[in-house]
Amino acid sequence: MHRIVAIALKDLRLLIRNREALFWVLAFPLMMAVLFGAIFSGMGSKARKPMEVAIVDEDQSEASKAFVGRLKSQDSVKLVVKSREGGLAAVRTGKLVAYVLIRKGYGAKQGFMAGDNKKLEVGIDPSRRTERGFLQGILMKAVFGGLQDRMSNPAKTRKFIQESVSGLGAAGARDPEEAKLATFLKAFDSYLGSVDNQTFKGQMKMDGPKIEAVKYAGGKRPRTSFEVSFPQSVVWGLLGIVSSFAILVARERTVGTLLRLRISPLTWTHILGGKALASFMASIVTMALIFALGIVGFGLRLGNLPQLGLAVVCTAVCITGMMMLIATFGKTEQAVSGASWAVMMPLAMFGGGMIPLVSMPSWMQTASHFSPIKWAVYSFEGAIWRDFTLAEMALPCGLLVIIGVATFALGVVLLSRAKS
């Protein structure tokens, strides 16, 4: 055991003295954690900036002005008054998200919605697909706001109904459908005549369902975006460890120190055991340091500490195994370095190390199941804020250990073959 520890300590010392490797193992992941955390949190006030939309009111009627007023009253949108050409140009050049054009004649045809919605034209920047849905909701709210206004003023609505009934033609000349509509409108008119002006005030809401974030069993969810970005960015440090230690194994071979170790009384178990121990320890220390900095500087919670410890240990096992396998992917440091990034980058990309899993298309989310990085991030989140039970931790942690053991065994077999 003493000899395994000696090899591990030597490798750790070499890692610590390699500034380039240290950058990738510690500094880069921290930069990513802070950067992505800040982006996800929206960097304060900018994130809460309303969607900027051009409004072009060519109608200038009472109804169009009321529609604009209802849009303005929503804090999720900021209207910028423009001409038709100005609005189009602002969207085309990406300065504004969309334009809303109220064509002439909007207020001339009075309907239930207090305006002719066929006279509304909306154009949106094709690259702002996410905002399209938001904007649609905002416009629907403003449109239905017209109906709300109508219902809040029964006298005005009755006048509109009576005009509509007379527009259906003489009673004897109506077709069966018109006759049914006339009967309904008359009944509605009669009802509105029996209520006072206060009946609908404050009662007719057109807000739609209220959406709230799901509360977990323990009432937990990511308190800050850093609780998402730190588990995600730890992955980068682990990639750095895989690459650095795989390169160290290759360097032992090219420099000749591996020959020296092999002709010493050390067994192959001592040599590979020492390398594995160093990688394992470096993984644990890296994760601990990054999470500790997240706690001290960015409000990261520890969550369930024993489970976080379990996730860290299982991830370290997985990383150690992968390092051992990747060390066999080339005979020179350059070859191993290239191979390690070529293998680990796609795994990180598919595993949510670059883009959060929820933002991926469904096929990528399916593919992510094959990336150990996904299970590492999932286990960290489970311990920190998803409030996983021990049974729920078993899946990601078990998979990490299985992948680690399998890749370690394969790596040892391949390295042993290369030795002989």
């Binding site: 000899r3 010392r13 390699n18 000749g256 020959l259 170790l261 009384p265 050390l266």
Partner: protein, 296 residues
């Protein structure tokens, strides 16, 4: 102490070692002399158990398997490549290799001090290896090989690319180890080194062993004649009585006994204004055995 019996090793189409056999006695310094690519390093790698021979047998200190821990504990090796960690200091390098040979605590510290002092690196012990000159790196390579006090030491081209000062320091080290009774196998393609350090020398080329003997024995057997060149004070009265060829006052004689030849000339009452005797060396031995020079 070391036995190599009919060792063979092939890499693809190349027969790197082809039936080499020799024995090295305890305390002997044995040289493997040959040009680059002769099979010296491959032979050493088979002797230390880093390479498995295709055929043949190796016995180290009575142990037939050189990969056995007991055999390895008594072996030290300074590989031809500088097998060191450049981001570790001299002390850390030596200490690490001492540790993997089982040294601990005060014993380890004492042996590290000794190895660094032995190779004259004590004053640079805290400096990282990458800051060292080529000669210092070679000496550190040697320090790491001897820190555990091996009984058998393999030195593979230990003076390649070093300055004369470091080369002399390495020679001193080897002679000191030799005086202490360490068995040394030394490979080189510098015949001066083999001539200076080795009790016996095996000349190898193209994987085969061409000759094996003491340096004197090899020269006597394969070196050819010595060359005596002299300038005479005055022309001899009877040039036909002289050995060799006489051109005016310049005499040139090839002889297998230069001293006897000189005695015969001086006995005839001839005096020299200049005299030079070129004895054959291992270079001549190699040339005579292979038709090529060692450094060709």
């Amino acid at each position: 102490m070391i036995q190599a019996q009919k060792l063979q090793k092939r890499f693809g189409e190349v027969q790197a070692v082809d039936g080499i056999s020799f024995e090295i006695a305890k305390g002997e310094t044995f040289g493997l002399l040959g040009p680059n690519g002769a099979g010296k390093t491959t032979t050493i790698h088979m002797l230390v158990g880093a390479l498995k021979p295709d055929a043949g047998k190796v016995v180290i200190d009575g142990v037939e398997d050189p990969t056995h821990a007991n055999a390895r504990q008594n072996i030290g090796m300074a590989p031809q490549a500088l097998a060191l960690y450049e981001n570790l200091s001299a002390e850390e390098n030596v200490s690490f290799f001492g540790t993997i040979y089982g040294l601990r605590g005060a014993d380890l510290a004492q042996r590290v001090d000794w190895a660094l002092g032995f190779t004259r690196l004590s004053d640079r012990r805290k400096d990282r290896m990458k800051t060292f000159s080529g000669g210092m790196k070679r000496r550190l390579n040697m320090a790491c090989a001897v820190v555990h006090k091996p009984r058998v030491l393999f030195l593979d081209e230990p003076t390649v690319g070093v300055d004369p000062q470091s080369r002399n320091a390495i020679f001193d080290n080897i002679e000191e180890l030799k005086a202490e009774g360490t068995t040394i196998l030394y490979t080189t393609h510098y015949m001066e080194e083999a001539q200076r350090l080795c009790d016996r020398v095996a000349i190898v080329d193209k994987g085969g062993l061409l000759a094996l003997d003491t340096v004197t024995g090899l020269i006597d057997a394969h070196g050819g004649n010595s060359l005596v060149e002299a300038t005479l004070e005055q022309a001899p009265s009877d040039p036909s009585a002289f050995p060799g060829t006489l051109d005016g006052l310049s005499l040139r004689v090839e002889t297998d006994h230069p001293l006897k030849t000189l005695a015969r000339i001086t006995d005839a009452g001839v005096h020299f204004t200049s005299l030079r005797v070129d004895r054959p060396d291992l270079e001549a031995v190699f040339l005579n055995l292979t038709g090529r020079r060692l450094r060709d």
